[in-house]
Symmetry: C2
């Protein structure tokens, strides 16, 4: 592809992103100072290379998946955020009271608002967190809350009913034993250490140790359960508004997928070990007309993934710019 062809592809992508209509040769005459016939010829080349497609024999051109990919990899120019975009994000970025994960969540909400795409925040998987502390808080005669806190500040809590014969004192004593022995253990190992190290100890000392073990096991295994709690999807309904989803059936299917947190988690989860990954069209697994831009972050050890889900016809540069800005600012903030 020579320079002119690249320019043409760029123009096709950008026009299509804006207008959502197949791009005809005429509409680009002015821009290139060429006749429509010449542009048609060049378009035919792009088509033979697989970068653009026709919906039907006499329609204008639409970027193909590999066209988008070429655009993203070679042609896209980094976009400076507009003042109003920055302004909206700054209200969060400047807020000193927000802890990293909350700040990122809020920023992604704003990004979803600004772009009308959906956004996803996948908290760092607590599996590699280390156990910090487990506490038992008695609520009333027969109810307790078990709290588990990790070294990254992730907190899980779970209520339990106590039987009449379960002794609260034994429960609290057990929590102390666990805190003494297991603090610093990776969450993923806690369950087995609980069984092989703690259970034998309490079995000797306590009457109702089976029940007690059961409670702690349950409280701790929620982390391992890969619960869907640490994922947040925002702006689901906004994506549906995008004009490519105009057919009732497509909308329903898309809504269904966006509503399925397990599925979204699967989509956004780390497959290949890259910091930025753009899944275009079929690669997104969501819908053939959909793109997922995914970005991992690691800010002072706190890791996670954010993603934007929108139409294939996405404002790639803008989204990349927004994500850059948010994560850069977060990093700066953390360093202070």
């Amino acid at each position: 592809m020579d320079k002119r062809q690249e320019d043409l592809l760029k123009a096709i992508v950008e026009t299509y992103v804006k207008t959502v209509k197949p791009v005809g040769s005429k509409s680009l005459c002015q821009k290139f100072k060429l006749s429509s016939a010449t542009i048609r010829n060049e378009m035919a080349v792009l088509e033979s290379l697989g970068y653009v497609e026709k919906n039907h024999i006499s329609s204008g051109r639409v970027p193909s998946e590999s066209g988008y990919r070429y655009y993203v990899e070679h042609l896209m120019e980094p976009e400076k955020l507009t003042g109003s975009d920055v302004l909206k994000l700054q209200s969060i970025v400047k807020n000193q009271d927000l802890v990293l994960s909350d700040a990122i969540s809020k920023c992604m909400e704003i990004i979803s608002d600004l772009t009308n795409y959906a956004s996803v925040v996948l908290g760092s998987n607590a599996e590699d967190n280390l156990l910090k502390q487990i506490s038992i808080i008695p609520i009333d005669n027969n109810k307790i809350v078990a709290l588990v806190c990790t070294n990254r500040g992730v907190v899980e809590n779970k209520q339990f009913q106590l039987d009449a014969d379960t002794d609260l004192k034994e429960l609290i004593k057990t929590s102390e034993i666990i805190n003494k022995m297991l603090t610093g253990t990776p969450i993923s190992d806690v369950a087995s250490r609980l069984e092989f190290e703690i259970k034998p100890i309490i079995a000797k000392q306590m009457v109702d140790y089976e029940r007690i073990y059961h409670i702690f096991y349950n409280a701790l295994s929620d982390f391992a359960a890969q619960d869907t709690d640490d994922i947040r999807v925002v702006g689901r309904a906004k994506v549906l508004e995008q004009p490519e989803y105009s057919d009732a059936d497509t909308i329903k299917k898309l809504a269904y997928k966006l509503d399925d947190e397990k599925f979204i988690k699967h989509v956004v989860q780390d497959k290949d070990n890259e910091e930025i990954k753009i899944y275009i069209g079929k690669d997104s697994e969501v819908d053939p007309n959909t793109t997922v831009i995914k970005r991992k972050y690691d800010i002072n050890g706190e890791t996670g993934t954010v993603a934007v889900i929108g139409p294939k016809r996405m404002e790639y540069a803008r989204v990349m710019g927004l994500l850059d800005y948010v994560l850069d600012e977060m990093k700066k903030k953390d360093e202070k």
Copy 2:
């Protein structure tokens, strides 16, 4: 309305619920052992009473909103759950490890699955909970987690960055003061008591009391903030599949509303003080073709609201039966 007319209305509603097609006079001949002409005459009466409508001059009849209402209030027969419905719910009901609020959530998920409607669980508003305990857990040098637990076992946690000059010991000491003085205070009053009772104390004893006050104020005020966290909407995408929502625009609008937790909260929230409330059609505020069945529960002092959102053409009896079953079983379980 005489008995026959009531029977007819009942038949129209139930046929329409099943077939989603306007009900013609012929289709009911067999059932009533009457000619279509007679049925037409009776239908005309129902129409003049406002219980059924025609989409156009020569179409079959469709129940009107007041027709549904009459059906729900006078004609609907309580439906016994099918074995498979019970079976699916029992896996949750029988589970002794689940605490009430979790069990209800899970049951509502199953109800959503069984019916293909959306379901909502609105946890009891924590505002009338009493403060049980507040704890500070240090995470690393400059990060802490503040945990707040109420007498109903609701837990909120929030991370804070510490400045270099904030003293962890002072923080913990303050939490002890709060626990001593404010335990048992309604959450809604905690903020003001914090300001007028605690702040003066720590102001005397501590250097960085402003920052410390700020942290506790923030941790505690999350409850009052009426955050959307205690609402759970399940099966959003399922409702969209209902045949009445076939037009792309309607689907988008509905998806938009279902995605808006604040709005759903508003819809489901307690307006009039009734235990069961059925909002049909326009009354639902969601969509003219939608019904919301809302039910409050109070199980041993733990209160909340559950709701089912589906088409106006809802299987009213079944949904009522399912909700009855779930709440009855929860009550039984609690009494044991």
